[in-house]
């Protein structure tokens, strides 16, 4: 190996010394290269991110002193007891899960025909245009999207102006669950369209032709061939719409006010009032819910086809 290195023509400006030796040593030892590549990023994730999650879970079992507001490292489950015995918190959990589920279903219903059109009807050019049309709102500022709905729903907003034109009474949707629900459907819609489209795009046309040859009409083909094959995409999208709604505290605050308190709103308020342990306990609720959601999706066999 060393002889071979020496035989190579030397390149001007590149010393044939230390660097070549190091790279030769690394070339001969793949495990050393792997370790060298993996250590920094893994250290980052273990030392910062996983450690942070562990600290969060531990903090949930601590308390703050009600007089000094200092963190007390006393192990107990008081925070969880408080959350599960206070009706306002339970209501927030119920509302969050309900709206997250509703948003997921509605986004699925809106997204499927759209993605179907993109994948199976649209011409190449139209498809590219629609692709970009989904990408732009996906990446447009999150706060802008929330704020846009504030402008729509507010008393003198576009919605009431439109309703006034067709002689329908003003509808005060701002600070209601509906405002939050509609805004969430809007914000997370692209997250559903893209994986559903990807799944539909992967279905070989021959499968659909086979179904049609066997006498399956549009509805039957959709139900028995396309839907099952698109299921992984729908599940992937639903993980987004569900998880993102579950952990949001900004949209409910800006559009729902005090009438639409979410798990996130409560956790954020605990954080603001310096009661981090109670906030941490509240934050474990969406973690546990997501865990069950993922397990449930796997039990349904949705991941097997991925």
């Amino acid at each position: 190996m060393t002889a071979k290195t020496a035989d190579r023509p030397t390149v001007a400006g590149v010393p044939n010394g230390l660097w070549s030796k190091i790279s030769a040593v690394l070339w001969r030892r793949p495990w050393a290269r792997a370790t060298l590549l993996l250590t920094p990023p893994l250290a980052w994730f273990l030392v910062i991110y996983l450690a942070a999650l562990v600290v969060l879970l531990i903090t949930a079992f601590w308390q703050t002193n009600s007089f000094t507001n200092n963190l007390e490292h006393v192990w107990n489950v008081q925070n969880f007891v408080q959350i599960f015995t206070t009706s306002a918190y339970l209501e927030a959990i119920g509302r969050t899960v309900g709206i997250a589920a509703g948003v997921t279903v509605v986004d699925g219903i809106i997204a499927f025909p759209f993605a179907y059109f993109m994948a199976r009807v649209a011409t190449r050019r139209t498809r590219t245009i629609l692709y970009v049309a989904i990408l732009l709102p996906l990446w447009a500022s999150y706060l802008a999207k929330v704020y846009a709905w504030q402008l729509v729903f507010t008393r003198d907003g576009v919605l009431n102006w439109g309703l006034g034109k067709i002689a329908l009474g003003p509808l005060n949707l701002i600070n209601t669950n509906w405002a939050v629900f509609i805004a969430f459907c809007y914000i997370w819609l692209p997250y559903m369209v893209i994986p559903v489209y990807a799944a539909l795009d992967r279905i070989p046309p021959s499968m659909i032709e086979a179904s049609q040859d066997l006498g399956g009409r549009t509805w039957r083909t959709t139900r028995s061939v396309i839907l099952p094959l698109a299921l992984p995409g729908i599940v992937a999208g639903s993980i987004f719409t569900f998880s993102l709604t579950l952990g949001d505290y900004i949209t409910p605050q800006l559009l729902g006010g005090t009438n639409s308190v979410f798990i996130g709103t409560d956790a954020y308020n605990f954080f603001l009032s310096n009661n981090i342990p109670l906030g941490a306990a509240m934050a474990t609720v969406p973690i546990v819910i997501m865990l069950f959601y993922l397990l449930g999706a796997r039990a349904l066999g949705a991941f097997r086809e991925l």
């Binding site: 070549s20 759209f114 709102p137 706060l143 729509v152 003198d156 102006w161 949705a302």
Partner: protein, 276 residues
């Protein structure tokens, strides 16, 4: 294959969805040019006044500069760490490989409040003062997956024979890296970096918990929206932010193909999560 009626129905549906997707965003842009101080529809004229107000507002300016600095630093860290993992997972097969790709996705797959509170309690626990660097650490953590996804997809499509040919022709390790491997992946790296920057520039859910007294631009906007203050100025700022986040994304799409942008747009992330 699809009947004409169905096709017409689908077309109408797609048109309605597009209206739903774009009208709210256009609305903000329109309001940004409204001369009135109290927002109501329809807008009452056209002015650039609020852009000028925003431009001369020191709070907006320093928030904007902080956002740019955080974005650049987070992107730099994400580039280094993201490409290291991508290369490692591409080249080597080892126990726990799937666990690593799952770990990378976790910061964007878990609800935002979880990541935010976790980082906040971590910094409190380790007695690290919140600063520019704590924001950067948070952003880099979820930007890594953007670079990683873009790069590993490209590596899987690049034939390894190119590097072998280069070595056979007598190139040294570094020459192969510089003249063969790098050009093959450079556009993937650039588009990954652009997406990481766009993600960082727009982030607010986690940043609220890692920023202490400093305001990034989204935090400034959130604060104004929460208090309902200076909303006409907010319209102008938000319009600029929309343009600034869209530009890197469109660039990334042009450089690496629209597929790369969607794939990285947190969706491939979940497809990978699905494999656990």
């Amino acid at each position: 294959m699809e009947s004409t009626g169905l096709k017409v129905g689908l077309r109408v549906w797609v048109a309605l969805v597009l209206v739903f997707l774009f009208v709210p965003i256009l609305l903000i842009v329109l309001y940004a040019f409204d001369p009135a101080t109290v927002e109501s529809w329809p807008i009452r004229g056209f002015t650039l006044h609020w852009f000028s107000v925003a431009w001369h507002d020191d709070a907006v300016r320093s928030a904007f500069l902080l956002s740019v600095r955080v974005g650049l630093l987070a992107t730099a860290i994400a580039l280094v760490l993201g490409s290291a993992v991508a290369y490692a997972l591409y080249k080597f097969t080892f126990f726990g490989r799937d666990a690593i790709s799952f770990l990378l996705v976790l910061p964007i797959a878990l609800p935002g409040i979880v990541t935010g509170l976790a980082l906040n309690s971590f910094f409190a626990f380790t007695a690290i003062q919140l600063s520019l660097w704590t924001i950067v650490v948070g952003h880099a953590t979820f930007c890594i997956v953007m670079v990683f996804n873009n790069l590993i997809a490209r590596l899987r499509r690049t034939p390894g024979s190119l590097a072998e040919a280069s070595m056979d022709l007598g190139a040294r390790g570094w020459q192969t890296q510089l003249y063969v491997n790098l050009p093959a992946v450079i556009t993937a790296l650039i588009s990954g970096a652009l997406l990481a920057f766009a993600l960082s520039f727009d982030e607010v859910v986690v940043t609220v918990f890692t920023s202490g007294a400093q305001n990034t631009l989204p935090i400034w906007i959130f604060g104004q929206l929460r208090l309902g203050q200076q909303l006409p100025e907010v319209n102008a700022v938000v319009t600029v932010v929309i343009v600034l986040t869209i530009i890197p994304v469109l660039l990334a799409a042009r450089i690496a193909g629209a597929g790369a942008v969607t794939r990285t747009a947190r969706t491939a992330a979940v497809t990978d999560t699905g494999r656990i």
